[in-house]
């Protein structure tokens, strides 16, 4: 067993994802405590040049092979199993992304390493990790340890600052040949979102609506309020899934990350996947009928009320 903290690097279009920098910054400080190294593991094809942007790592393990030209859960898992098995890091940090979920749980089952999911904080205690996880849609927090002192954590995006892990450097680069691959899951293509009528990432006021809206017809009330505020309407996932608003208006993990001056969260409970996309807003005002909705833990102002009562009153007050 080593005292190293390993990070699985995610990249797209030749650039490292922010979530990787978030993990690297954390890995660096944890490794300093455990007296090990922050080790980044980079898989891809023609990606050796990316190692230089992983300066927060002490060491970058690069598996550069045409088999990893695009992400594939099966190929990544097959290649990572021997790396994690042989190096025995005390902790492996993986982003709680689509790709990360597959790889982390796959590694956990293949190597019988425990996995702590939905992590929002990781500390070292006596050289072994302690992980805080969000459960029950953010309504419960669990603090866990790995029974044998080592394990994997999938980390919710935005839990740690990316700045601490970004920046150039000259980590030791170690090229490793892929000893295994698995072609049973094949990448075909990437679909990018079509440009919508409104770019919610550029709006300074967002009036965002969730399940609490109840009925599609009530969207008129939300549109009227957005108009009175000179803002745009956005939503949580259920509204986009129902087809009530286009996918381009969806805020959150699978949608867009927004940082408006004002974010009005109306009838949005605040599942972790949603908070991931909006917690950086300058001012968050939440209206929800459930006093224990997790949205109130990130909001600056909150009101426990039915949005259908508050919204018309607010629109009227604003002269809309």
């Amino acid at each position: 067993m080593s005292a190293d903290v390993m990070v699985l690097v995610e990249h797209r279009d030749g650039a490292i994802l922010d979530t990787t920098f978030e993990l690297l910054g954390k890995a660096k400080s944890l490794a300093a405590e455990s007296k090990g190294e922050a080790v980044a593991v980079l898989l891809g094809s023609g990606v050796a040049g990316l190692a230089g942007s992983l300066g927060a790592a002490a060491r970058v393990i690069v598996i550069d092979d045409p088999a990893f030209e695009a992400f594939s859960p099966s190929a990544y898992q097959a290649a990572l199993v021997p790396v994690v098995r042989d190096r025995e890091p005390t902790l492996v940090l993986v982003a709680n992304s689509g790709a990360g979920m597959d790889v982390a749980a796959g590694l956990s089952a293949a190597l019988e390493l425990p996995l702590a999911a939905y992590a929002t904080e990781v500390t070292m205690d006596g050289g072994s990790p302690r992980v805080t996880c969000q459960l029950y849609a953010g309504k419960i927090q669990a603090t866990v340890r790995f029974e044998r002192g080592r394990g994997i954590a999938t980390v919710v995006a935005g839990s740690f600052p990316a700045e601490a892990g970004a920046g150039a450097g000259s980590p030791m680069v170690e090229a490793v040949a892929a000893t295994a691959s698995d072609g049973r899951v094949r990448f075909k293509r990437l679909h990018r979102p079509e440009a919508g009528d409104v770019d919610i990432t550029r709006e300074s006021v967002l009036v965002s609506v969730g399940r609490g809206i109840g009925d599609q017809d009530n969207l008129e009330l939300i549109e009227a309020l957005a108009k009175a505020l000179g803002g745009a309407v956005s939503s949580s996932r259920p509204i986009a899934d129902a087809g009530w608003l286009p996918r381009t208006r969806q805020v959150g993990k699978s949608g867009l990350k927004v940082k408006p001056k004002v974010y009005l969260a109306l009838g949005i409970s605040g599942a972790p996947e949603h908070l991931e996309g909006m917690r950086g807003a300058e001012l968050i005002i939440a209206v929800n009928s459930d006093a224990r909705a997790p949205i109130f833990s990130v909001a600056h102002y909150g009101a426990v009320a039915d949005l259908l009562d508050v919204v018309p009153a607010l629109t009227a007050r604003l002269g809309g």
Partner: protein, 262 residues
């Protein structure tokens, strides 16, 4: 095409969750249970796929004493599943590793070309059942998927995996395989309560052994807590008009909306 759907029940979040006296778990005494939301999407997708390709849908649910797994399985039948199986016998909801182990053992006796389950559940502290099960059975897997389609020859399937920013990766998988379903093409269909009640009396709910249970999650839960709600929020009270007035004033201070200094 034999489709298999893995389901479980989870605490109903419409009710307040309380921590038990040990401070390391939920107080289950008065807890009520519902089907895990994402598992319901998985079932809905399986039913659509079966209707397109022909074949069967078999639903497997964890046999947990708390909650009502038979009602869940009868609901699956009412929605159109062909066969339902209660897997294992657990006093409480098992962790994901144990659940994956039980499902993996049960699959020995159940034909499966495509296994669908919810991408996640609100209680999967030790990871998601789909990829855990897939790896135990050495099957390929993709999580966070939508847009599932099975090829005409029945040998492969395609699915979309969601990433941040609305970006989607399209994958082709060799079957048999496991998919963690994010959402279904249509909202889960309604099953009339009367039909579910009737099926609970008349339908056959098979039982499958969940195997030895495995070694568990390997996690030690030190503490569970309700995060301090509203820890950062200043709560606005009063009737809707008073709330609206206060919000308008807060916005006006920042130069937003009518009444704002110009």
């Amino acid at each position: 095409m034999d489709y298999v759907v893995l389901l479980k029940q989870v605490p109903d979040l419409a009710e307040d969750l309380e921590i038990d006296s040990a401070g390391t778990g939920l107080d289950r005494e008065w807890m009520s249970f519902v089907a895990s939301e994402w598992d319901e999407y998985a079932l809905e997708e399986a039913l659509h796929l079966r209707d397109a390709t022909g074949g069967t849908v078999t639903c497997l649910a964890l046999g947990v004493q708390a909650g009502d797994v038979d009602e869940l399985l009868a609901t699956c039948l009412a929605r159109g599943a062909d066969r339902v199986v209660r897997v294992g016998s657990f006093e409480q909801s098992p962790d994901s590793h144990s659940a994956a182990g039980a499902f993996a053992a049960a699959l020995d006796g159940i034909p499966h070309d495509l296994i669908l389950t919810g991408v996640q559940a609100i209680d999967d502290l030790d990871g998601q059942v789909g990829p855990l099960l897939a790896t135990r059975r050495d099957l390929p897997h993709v999580s966070v998927v939508t847009h599932i389609a099975v090829a005409a020859d029945g040998k492969t399937a395609t699915a979309h995996q969601e990433y941040a920013g609305g970006v989607v990766g399209e994958f082709e998988l060799d079957l048999p395989a496991v998919l963690g379903v994010q959402t279904s093409r249509e909202a889960p269909r309604y099953a009339p309560v009367s039909r579910v009640r009737q099926l609970m009396k008349t339908a056959t709910i098979e039982k499958a052994d969940g195997g030895g249970g495995g070694s568990g999650s390997g996690l030690t839960i030190e503490a569970m807590a309700v995060p301090e709600s509203g820890a950062t929020a200043e709560m606005i009270t009063g009737n809707p008009v008073a709330i609206a007035d206060r919000i308008a004033a807060i916005l006006a201070e920042r130069g937003i909306g009518a009444g704002a200094p110009r």
